[in-house]
């Protein structure tokens, strides 16, 4: 189901996403680097292997949907979409510049392939529930994927949608939590800890898996497992490292939003190119 070559290809894709994301940031000198780097492996698996998409027709009716609820990680989604051919790669270097099609937080009206506008946290799962219900009504077997942050999980609306989604049992909905342990002001555990997050979602009636969010094989298998479980909404908690793969951001405190020089970006890219993450 998953050959060694495929694993290597996805790892390579994730690396490219990280490199292009860093180039985007480099073009403006600041940005939400931590949470963009931590979801690169997930995006590689989704767009490289799992999702039904059509870069020539981003609004294709039979596509799978992705809502990046943690909208500030837009830059890594843009890198992914550009690499898949949704729009020219040159767009990446317009990030956050006046008149750009690539704003810091996702905007479905501006960027081909972005399915939903996000940016104020907590709203994505609710929207995903609506899409999931609509797809079922339309007799479509497409999936809707939602990526939320761990800090974002402090929002009340997340738990409204958790309660509803557990009861609604939408098996065409798969939520990912990018559990990178850090939020803007520091470590989640030092601010308002999530406790046993898996147990919480389980108590809300969801099909829960906890995995290494930087292991493309584990991510792929978890999605496959989720799809095999019927009559439950799915959540996959991905243990990740904020800033993963960027030498000046990975594991560093207060890496949610950073300013950096082109030298730092270039050195991070060089190191990434040499590495085998």
């Amino acid at each position: 189901m998953f050959t060694k070559t495929e694993v290597l290809e996805l790892k390579e894709f994730a690396k490219k996403i990280r490199i292009e994301t860093l180039r985007e940031f480099g073009s403006i000198g600041s940005g939400h680097i931590g949470g963009s780097m931590s979801i690169a492996d997930l995006l590689a698996v989704l767009y490289g292997k799992v999702m039904k998409i059509n870069p020539q027709d981003p609004q294709w009716e039979d596509r799978d949907w992705l809502i990046l609820s943690k909208g500030h990680a837009g830059p890594s989604l843009y890198a992914t979409l550009a690499l898949k051919g949704f729009f020219p790669k040159e767009w990446l270097y317009t990030l956050n510049k006046g008149g750009t099609r690539l704003p810091s937080h996702c905007n479905r009206l501006l960027t081909p392939g972005v399915d939903m506008s996000t940016g104020t946290l907590g709203q994505g799962i609710s929207v995903g529930l609506g899409i999931a219900k609509g797809l079922k009504l339309n007799n479509k077997n497409n999936f809707v994927y939602v990526i939320v942050g761990d800090g974002e999980s402090q929002e009340g609306q997340i738990w409204e949608s958790a309660l509803f989604g557990g009861n609604a049992k939408f098996d065409n909905l798969i939520v990912f939590v990018d559990y990178n342990k850090q939020q803007l002001d520091g470590y989640v555990d030092n601010i308002n800890p999530l406790g046993n997050l898996g147990k919480k979602w389980e108590a809300f009636g969801w099909d829960v898996q906890e995995i290494d969010g930087h292991n493309v094989e584990e991510i792929y298998i978890a999605i496959k497992n989720a799809k095999a479980v019927k009559d439950k909404s799915h959540i996959i908690i991905m243990n990740t490292i904020k800033g993963k793969g960027c030498n000046f951001a990975e594991g560093v405190e207060l890496n949610h939003h950073m300013t950096f020089s082109m030298e730092q970006i270039n050195s991070a890219i060089k190191e990434l190119e040499k590495s085998n993450i």
């Binding site: 949907w65 905007n107 479905r108 009206l109 399915d115 939903m116 506008s117 996000t118 940016g119 104020t120 907590g122 709203q123 994505g124 799962i125 609710s126 929207v127 995903g128 529930l129 609506g130 899409i131 999931a132 219900k133 609509g134 797809l135 009504l137 339309n138 479509k140 009340g156 609306q157 409204e160 949608s161 309660l163 509803f164």
Partner: protein
């Protein structure tokens, strides 16, 4: 001829029924229509839609924010979602979701909010929304309508359904005063001259339309000719009609069941000041919180009666004369 007399009758039809019965009729022919409610189905009578179309109805429970997010999702896959709650929750608990997941994302969500302003009566201050119009007005692309009676309600449901974009419908859900004759039709964005007059124009919305007609009759006895206009689309407002009334009558009084800050009066004042400044007075909630009571008590408490309008007209006419 439309009912324009002093003999105002109570509408035989509840507004919530006029609305939901019409929506059910439309939904018979269009399976894109979808209803969401947040545990107020027996207040809003949306349970009637659920009985007819259980697969196309969701009661999320007491989760207004989640409801609006889900409505946005349904819109993304081509549904026409109608979400329902009280005006106080619509304005205070849904704002970010309406702003970001609906309006900013250019999605097609219709929000019907009931019990506007003092219509919350015995639910009191916590439930009394004087701020909702002001909040909704500042969301780009939001259309705001406040239907006056069952005739108008029935007439505009179809336009709301098939005009793409977010709507905020401020709905008095019980039996209002009947203003229009059965079968009359209305166009969203166009105000209605209910009664001609030459000294002053009273521009009103919602429950204040009936009070304005009463005030006009009272003023007639004093030899004052007051035009009465019903502006039911608060955004986008009927600029042309407001300018025309300012030009023809030289003074304006607005009347609304809402905070005068950023409500109908503000919207009218903005048009006047930029186009045809004339003396103007505003009837409405004078930046206060609500409290419990019946409609009659609350109308007096917040100075929303025909007598209050008469007083404001007299005041504005003195200013007009001094000018």
């Amino acid at each position: 001829m439309p009912i324009r007399s002093n003999d105002l009758q109570i509408d035989k039809m509840e507004m919530r029924n006029a609305y939901i019965d019409k929506l059910i009729k439309l939904a018979e022919k269009d399976d894109k229509i979808f209803v969401l409610d947040a545990d107020l189905m027996h207040s809003n009578n949306t349970y009637k839609f659920k009985e007819r179309f259980p697969d196309r109805t969701i009661n999320v429970g007491i989760q207004e924010a989640n409801m609006i997010g889900m409505a946005a999702g349904l819109s993304l896959v081509g549904k026409i979602p109608f979400a329902h709650t009280f005006t106080c929750f619509a304005a205070r608990r849904d704002l970010d979701q309406l702003y970001l997941s609906v309006a900013y994302a250019e999605l097609n969500v219709k929000l019907f909010a009931t019990d506007p302003g003092i219509a919350a009566t015995y639910n009191g201050g916590s439930h009394m929304s004087f701020e909702d119009i002001g909040i909704m007005r500042t969301i780009p692309s939001m259309t705001i309508v406040e239907p006056v009676d069952s005739t108008m309600m029935e007439s505009i449901v179809e336009q709301i359904t098939y005009t793409y974009g977010p709507f905020y419908v401020r709905l008095f859900r019980k039996n209002p005063v009947k203003i229009y004759e059965d079968g009359e039709t209305f166009k969203i964005g166009k105000g209605i001259i209910l009664k001609e007059g030459s000294d002053v124009t009273i521009i009103s919305t919602g429950i204040m339309v009936a009070e304005s007609l009463k005030a006009s009759a009272l003023l007639e006895k004093d030899g004052i000719s007051a035009r009465v206009v019903n502006i039911f689309t608060i955004k986008p407002i009927d600029k042309d009609l407001i300018i025309k009334c300012a030009e023809e009558t030289g003074s304006i009084v607005t009347a609304e069941n809402s905070n005068i800050i950023n409500g109908l009066g503000s919207a009218v004042a903005e048009v006047l000041i930029e186009n045809k400044p004339v003396p103007m007075e505003r009837i409405g909630i004078q930046d206060l919180f609500g409290e419990v009571g019946d409609m009659e008590y609350l109308m007096k408490r917040y100075h929303l009666t025909a007598d209050d309008i008469v007083e404001s007209v007299k005041k504005v006419l003195i200013r007009k004369k001094m000018k």
